[in-house]
């Protein structure tokens, strides 16, 4: 299978640095350095910009604690899928643009000293779509957490299943849920964090099923696309439809957490969830 993998250059070379970013919510012009210091949250209106996988990991984990696992997983093209360009070209472009091999990164790390398994998604990689690589990484993260007896945290950011892998992408819903069911049966905690957006098949599998579900404010969270929903049914959408606060009101999100508080609150929840008896395949926790 011929596929060129990009060299992983510093992304400074790929993107000319802009000094300013316009907030899509309040339209304020924001100095990038300032935005970055504010964890990519608009200091003026609180709009939560999307985060890259590495930014997310750096914001959540103790410095230097992250060890990536299974970095070598890459997508192939089981269907020979071509739309306006071939699927492998889309993957290659996304790799080039993000410096990632696919839309999820998983590994182990520490949060306020607690060892956890963590998987974060990157919307920048083909809309965070879930193909076999994302599904495989979620399953391995769950199996890794089970093996080591440490909690699992997943930060979702995804438009759903990756169409270019057809029903094999759909089957990742089963793969991930089956692994999570084993984690639950072994009483190993799992916390789901939903960021903007968490939709389609990712919401309809692991993202919805945390022991505790956290969400960032105003994130788009839903199953059916608003276009599909409104178009098919011809109904007006309720206000705030498919936003974090809507999901919270309807009972599917435990807490809406500002990004600035996320690390601390996640750690707090994990401290409560940590079983009083050892669990998982080993009780060994470092």
């Amino acid at each position: 299978m011929p596929m060129k993998f990009p060299s992983f250059r510093s992304r400074r070379e790929d993107y000319p640095e802009k000094m300013w970013t316009r907030c899509p919510s309040c339209e304020e012009q924001l100095f990038n350095k300032q935005l970055e210091k504010a964890m990519n949250v608009c200091p003026s209106c609180g709009h939560h910009f999307r985060l890259s996988a590495t930014m997310r990991l750096s914001q959540l984990l103790d410095d230097g604690s992250f060890v990536e696992r299974d970095p070598g997983l890459v997508s192939v093209d089981p269907l020979g899928f071509v739309d306006q360009k071939p699927y492998p070209d889309r993957v290659a472009a996304a790799q080039l643009a993000t410096g990632l091999r696919d839309a999820a990164v998983w590994g182990t790390g520490r949060i306020e000293g607690m060892r956890i398994a963590i998987l974060v998604m990157d919307f920048g990689f083909m809309g965070g779509s879930m193909g076999a690589v994302v599904g495989e990484k979620v399953a391995r993260a769950a199996e890794g957490a089970l093996e080591e007896g440490i909690p699992l945290v997943i930060v979702s950011a995804s438009g759903g299943a990756r169409m270019q892998e057809g029903t094999l992408a759909l089957m990742q819903l089963v793969k991930t849920m089956a692994a999570l069911e084993r984690l639950r049966a072994a009483r190993v905690p799992y916390v789901s964090v939903m960021s903007d957006p968490t939709t389609g098949g990712v919401f309809a599998s692991y993202a919805a099923m945390g022991d505790v579900n956290l969400a960032e404010p105003n994130a788009l969270i839903g199953f059916a696309g608003a276009r599909v929903g409104a178009g098919t049914i011809g109904q007006e959408l309720p206000p705030g439809f498919q936003r974090s606060e809507f999901l919270y009101r309807h009972g599917f999100v435990d807490r809406i957490v500002q990004r600035a508080d996320l690390r601390q609150e996640l750690a707090q929840v994990l401290r409560f969830l940590a079983p009083t008896q050892p669990w998982g395949k080993e009780a060994a926790r470092g």
């Binding site: 299978m1 990991l57 089981p78 269907l79 759909l170 793969k175």
Partner: protein
């Protein structure tokens, strides 16, 4: 480099166009038209669904109603059935025969309570040690706001999780349209059968076309690209066995279709009944654990190093200690705020 499943994908691409000529109105020479003809057959309004099939297959049928939480969704039929003496629990989507019935059954598109009814009845099957047989034919879960409000995603996720660990045999038959998550929610099985003209896809061809080709006119192109026919799905390993339809298709002969299905289902039930339940559940886990094609490269971690935490103090410390650590710039934030491709799954 490991390329675990790719072989099946290749097979799908090369081997199975041959049966396209069975589809009426579709010259074998045009694979796109052949696939599209099958999509139309799968959607044929006279195609038999769970109730029509049970009328042929089952000696006895007792429908159970309600999710014990909110309502009884008539887009999902669930209950006890007896198939040549074998007691089973059956679950399937059901459309209406006329407009009035279609309204009552939400045109066969289940709300969360439909899947929650299915879960309740499948858990009952587990307690009683009855095998589960599901009949899958659905354009997709109901996409309306009430469906979202009551947690259609949660219902699908939970049902998929439940079926993945249910301690009783599950035989799934894709009888018509296997529409994405709304199909999958009752389609996790030890063995997945499909009728010859059934289709199975991660998104409707129209939805796929409108996202990737920016026009629903390309739906047949999308249908071909997604390899959604029963034969293609078998080649991918998603479907285990394809059951030939009689004559012009299942819609034209419910009785014969039912008889063929009955033979296939009873064979599978008897085969699965011989497997100890621990082994069965482990095999089911492995079945889904191995679906999906990827490669695994050796070599150094490609993900950019994780910068130190972004809290203000840390950030300042980071700036002060500059040079000691590599702090890559975050991705430009603007392009991360494009609207997502919402119709996925």
């Amino acid at each position: 480099m490991v390329d675990r499943i790719l072989g099946r994908g290749r097979e799908a691409r090369e081997g199975h166009e041959g049966r396209g000529d069975q589809a009426p109105d579709a010259p074998a020479a045009d694979p796109k038209a052949a696939v599209w003809a099958r999509v139309q057959l799968a959607r044929n309004l006279r195609r038999p669904r769970i109730l029509e099939l049970l009328a042929v297959i089952a000696d006895e049928f007792v429908e159970l109603h309600g999710d014990r939480l909110f309502g009884d969704d008539e887009a999902v039929v669930a209950g006890f059935a007896r198939i040549e003496g074998r007691r089973v629990v059956v679950v399937g989507q059901q459309k209406g025969a006329d407009t009035e019935e279609n309204v009552r059954r939400s045109f066969g598109m289940p709300h969360p309570e439909g899947y929650r009814k299915a879960m309740r009845v499948m858990e009952l099957a587990e307690r009683c040690g009855l095998p589960v047989v599901t009949f899958v034919d659905v354009p997709g879960a109901h996409p309306g706001p009430e469906s979202e409000e009551r947690g259609i995603a949660e219902a699908i996720a939970r049902s998929v999780g439940l079926m993945s660990r249910l301690r009783t045999p599950i035989v799934t038959v894709i009888t018509g349209e296997g529409g994405s998550g709304g199909a999958l929610a009752i389609a996790v099985g030890d063995v997945v059968l499909a009728l010859e003209n059934a289709v199975y896809s991660v998104i409707s061809p129209e939805g796929c076309a409108s996202i990737l080709w920016r026009t629903t006119d390309e739906a047949p192109t999308a249908a071909l690209a997604m390899r959604m026919t029963a034969d293609d799905q078998r080649a991918l390993g998603v479907v285990d066995l394809v059951i030939a339809e009689p004559g012009e298709g299942a819609h034209a002969d419910h009785a014969e279709t039912g008889r063929r299905l009955k033979t296939a289902i009873t064979e599978q039930l008897d085969r699965l009944a011989a497997i100890p339940v621990e082994v069965l559940v482990e095999q089911r886990y492995r079945r889904y654990r191995s679906l999906g094609a990827y490669a695994e490269l050796a070599g150094p971690a490609p993900t950019p190093p994780v910068p130190p935490r972004g809290g203000l103090a840390d950030r300042l410390r980071g700036l002060i200690e500059a040079g000691q650590r590599a702090i890559p710039a975050p991705l430009p934030v603007g392009r991360r705020d494009e609207p997502p491709a919402r119709e996925d799954v």
